[in-house]
Symmetry: D2
Subunit: 132 residues, 4 copies
């Protein structure tokens, strides 16, 4: 029992295409909306096929001095050209790319967790400090 | 059996704060990335509390001439200031706001479905035609 | 705008393999746990391959006399033998099958919504009345 | 960058109510359906209120000798008596309890990850070996 933990891989997103990128666009003020950009494959695009794609990115926040991690959001990329005509013949697919908006009351760290349907779990983190 | 369908509400998003807004930013070309903006409460903000909030938006696509609806994505807004200190004391919340990116091979209609944890399901649709 | 609604298909689950089955196992008492069984393909199994599978089932409840639909749960079936070795070579897959437990304070109707990645959205409903 | 990882808590589920329980019911044979039971609060029930509840359980599989973790499923418990009448007045809630069915081609370890909306992330694992 408990013999195994999840294998959550980490690496430099500039070299390894699976690592989720987290960027903050615009100001970071306490209690005001902060725009967070998440994507996989910013530098090196990841395949996007019926057989191999990024299925989701999840975003977590660890406020400084708190004991528990907060789950902010899940962003699921469900279409990858699946079709009754066969794989990769479908009319729609999603890019693993999302902007969202959060409101934070404390500084802390954002962590993104992403999932490739054949290469598993990957994470990345970004420190958030408030501007004066 | 089959006595009931889901109650999916529709209205004008300028008057009714629950209706999801769908907007396309930038060009809409066949087979090229299209930026889709989704939010709830664009004109009239929706409450964002532990007890009352927008939990998710889902995006679907109906390609012209096809028989089945395609599920593009789900965007979940999980934090609403829940806390061990009591409701609305938490360090983080999410705004029901997301940009994402899709690739379409046919014109058709995007449908957003959103869910308020106390006011149920709401939908809105947007026609997508390709530019020359 | 609003030119299209979601295409949510209905049929008899004994003839059409995509229709979600909803069954209640055991007693249905007000305010006490009720075991709900959900599956797709009970009579006629649905394919379960990397290219074609049931991705999720969602469960909703419409209490009698209330105006809004309640989202009870989402059950996602994420693995379909995807693999770095190629499609359908993977070590794990999920069957579109779930038991869960809900507590209801009023009679009403359960609605299950399921999604096949190439055949779209399907629904089914089941009336719930309390035993004496 | 990368200064923080997710805080995923572990403990004995008989003493700590947040720890997800994983049990296998019935036979475990290669390539045949295996019934997996997941719940939170088996020994010590967890609160189930609008303000404090288990939001989801996710199930992962690590096949022996493979490099990547496979995401099997996500089971979301969305209703917690939220209501227009105020918190905890609603007509429905979900118990953090699910049975599902998976097909495995190799022995390995199942890991469940659960989330309490105020007490964060918890995990547990169970070894799966095939019967002769
Ligand atoms: Fe990959
Ligand atoms: Fe509302
Ligand atoms: Fe199908
Ligand atoms: Fe808790």
């Amino acid at each position: 029992m408990d013999s195994l933990k999840l294998i959550i891989q980490k690496d430099d997103w500039k070299k390894e295409k699976h690592v989720p990128v987290i960027e903050i666009k615009g100001p970071t003020k306490k209690g005001e909306p902060i725009d967070v950009y998440l994507c996989v494959g910013k530098e090196i695009p990841h395949p996007n096929t019926t057989e191999h794609h990024i299925r989701w990115i999840k975003l977590f926040f660890q406020p400084d001095g708190e004991k528990f991690t907060i789950h902010l959001g899940t962003y699921m990329f469900e279409a990858h050209a699946e079709s009754t005509e066969g794989p990769n013949k479908g009319s729609a697919k999603c890019e693993p790319y999302v902007y969202t908006r959060v409101i934070l009351e404390k500084p802390g760290s954002l962590t993104a967790l992403s999932y490739c349907n054949i290469h598993g779990l990957w994470e990345n983190s970004l420190r958030v400090d408030f501007e004066n």
